[in-house]
Assembly symmetry: C2
Homo-oligomer: 358 residues x 2
């Protein structure tokens, strides 16, 4: 099925940034995509319009009950001026999984894909070409019905906005120091930790604040039941190299099924490196550190791709990993994924999707 | 300290509802209160303005990371035309506790009190006078900075809106049937369950949907760690009468410190009825039902005040409580609190605050 998405071009284009050193998610392009939902009518009126403020009733449910989901992915400009997106279908599938968990009506996945493509093509001149830069794509749904009753909204907006992002590693990959969080919990099985919804991020702000004050970059989240199994690092999935095997926490209901996480697992398998998805306790990590088995650790996510962990602080003990330097495997995974994203490396799984209108 | 809050009156007043049978939170008054926050400047520019849509950048943090808190309280019109609010200071204190948990800058509690009073007085003609009706007051904070980085916002809006609410029990108090939720979890200790923030409500929608489909009014939430200790019912606190003693779950970090909950505890103590705040398992409730010890159960919250529980469904067993009728104690607590709220009953604790400008 082909969708016709009307495009209203801006008459007042903004100046594009002359460099790409701005903070993440601060510079937005000239246009955005909107799709409305009304109960009884379904999703309707897809359109690309100039980037502009939205008007909402102060009783809109998103302000009060947080019924919202989002996604994050990137578009890249190749040396030969093609536009590539990395596994957009995975993000669109997850968007609907999140919608289901948050009682938001499902989106037409083909329409979402077409909207992504249309919007990025309209703003293609915004895609930066310097090494490591990209166009960050943020699809999101908000509940807009102006009613204070606690129940799923009867009105929504699905929107996509685009942000120009500089290189995450403009000054080279620097392993970060991590505080293993003993007090706060991000999510618990039975909750919404495996959905990409606003409340999970709000819940993590306080722990991040306190870790920052203590001098750490991020927190490592432990599970909410036993307070010992590793879940995520900041808002990323996390991997540990223990001897010859790479271990990452299994998808247990409270962990996000990250697209980069999934890609790393597939790459490791492709390289015949043993990888395990299983419960992994902080005690096991401490023990592996003592015995010399723990040689690398890294977070995975769309923004950083790979974020090497230089040290973990747990119960007043500092575990330095790989002498605080970026490990060989972390670098190999980073190079492989960014190479696929930029069209410069082998793409054995067909993950890079060239952006052309159907 | 006295605050001067500028008031801009509407030039297009809305028609007031001719009856009070509308659904909760659907009819709003003519005005609203706004206060802005900018980092470096603090909270500034308090004002009462005509009720109107707000304009936000689509990147505003509230849409993406759910950094928001709210409160709910009511104003009542007495027979002699005085306006009473019920323990507004408790709500304002809790608002700042929620702000702290969500990394939102604290509000000046005196200014918030003055804003409540000013706004309600401006819209005093909207306060309904029929039995059981009231003016629902919804203060809330939203993060408005248009930046996609996951970090506390540098800009916020604090707003208050007012909604005319009909009698919750227009057709008499009807005990409700409750589904004890085995799969979904509302919140866990270490999370944000004890803050009044949007994500807690979003997390509960799916379970409520499924319970509604099964024919139940609400869910009873069990704890996320052991999956057996009782936490809340729907978005209310919960009490059980076991023999001569009333038991309610202790404030363990994942339960909201409800104003009505606190008021019920104080009233029971005032009446020399033993009341315990402690861990309370569903197994204990099932056993108490079997032995005949469980004679009443009710939820407590601002909207309903008291919501009697007629039955609990747990592991395919239906526990009918008090023959499904409203119990004597439930009725006594309801009458005492609503009497204080309307100024018709003894107010031993000075909970009813008459609304006059300072």
């Amino acid at each position: 099925m082909t969708y016709t998405i009307p495009v209203e071009l801006t008459t007042t284009p903004k100046a594009k940034p002359s460099h790409h050193k701005q903070a993440f998610g601060t510079v937005f392009t000239d246009h955005m995509f909107i799709l409305d939902y009304d109960a009884g009518k379904g999703w309707h009126d897809p359109r690309v319009v100039p980037y502009q403020p939205i008007e909402l009733d102060p009783a809109a449910k998103v302000f009060h009950y947080g019924q919202t989901v989002f996604e994050g992915l990137k578009a890249y400009l190749t040396e030969d001026q093609r536009i590539l997106m990395f596994r957009p279908g995975k993000n669109i599938q997850r968007l609907n999984l999140s919608n289901h968990r948050l009682s938001i009506p499902a989106l037409d996945e083909e329409l979402v894909m077409e909207a992504l493509k249309q919007l990025v093509l309209v703003d293609r001149d915004w895609i930066p070409s310097e090494p490591g830069t990209s166009l960050y794509i943020r699809p999101f749904v908000i509940a807009t019905e102006p009613v204070l009753g606690v129940a799923p909204s009867l009105q929504y907006k699905f929107m996509i906005i685009l942000s120009v992002v500089g290189s995450y590693y403009a000054e080279g990959i620097n392993p970060v120091s991590i505080y293993v969080e003993p007090k706060y919990v991000r999510a618990v099985a039975g909750g919404v930790g495996n959905a990409k919804t606003a409340g999970n991020y709000a819940a993590g702000l306080k722990a991040q604040d306190e870790a920052t004050l203590k001098g750490y970059s991020q927190v490592l989240w432990l599970d909410g039941v036993h307070r010992k199994y590793i879940e995520e690092v900041g808002s990323m999935n996390v991997f540990f190299k223990l001897g010859d095997t790479v271990v990452t926490p299994a998808l247990n209901g409270s962990i996000l099924d990250g697209v980069t996480r999934n890609s790393v697992i597939q790459l490791l398998q492709h390289w015949n490196i043993p990888v395990e998805e299983r419960a992994l306790s902080i005690d096991e990590i401490v023990e592996a550190h003592r015995s010399g088995l723990l040689t690398e650790a890294f977070g995975t996510g769309t923004a950083a791709v790979i974020s090497p962990i230089g040290s973990l602080e747990w119960e007043d003990e500092q575990l330095v990993i790989g002498e605080g330097a970026t490990g060989e495997l972390s670098r190999r995974v980073y190079d492989a994924i960014t190479g696929i994203q930029l069209g410069t490396a082998e793409d054995p799984f067909g993950w890079a999707i060239e952006l052309t209108l159907s």
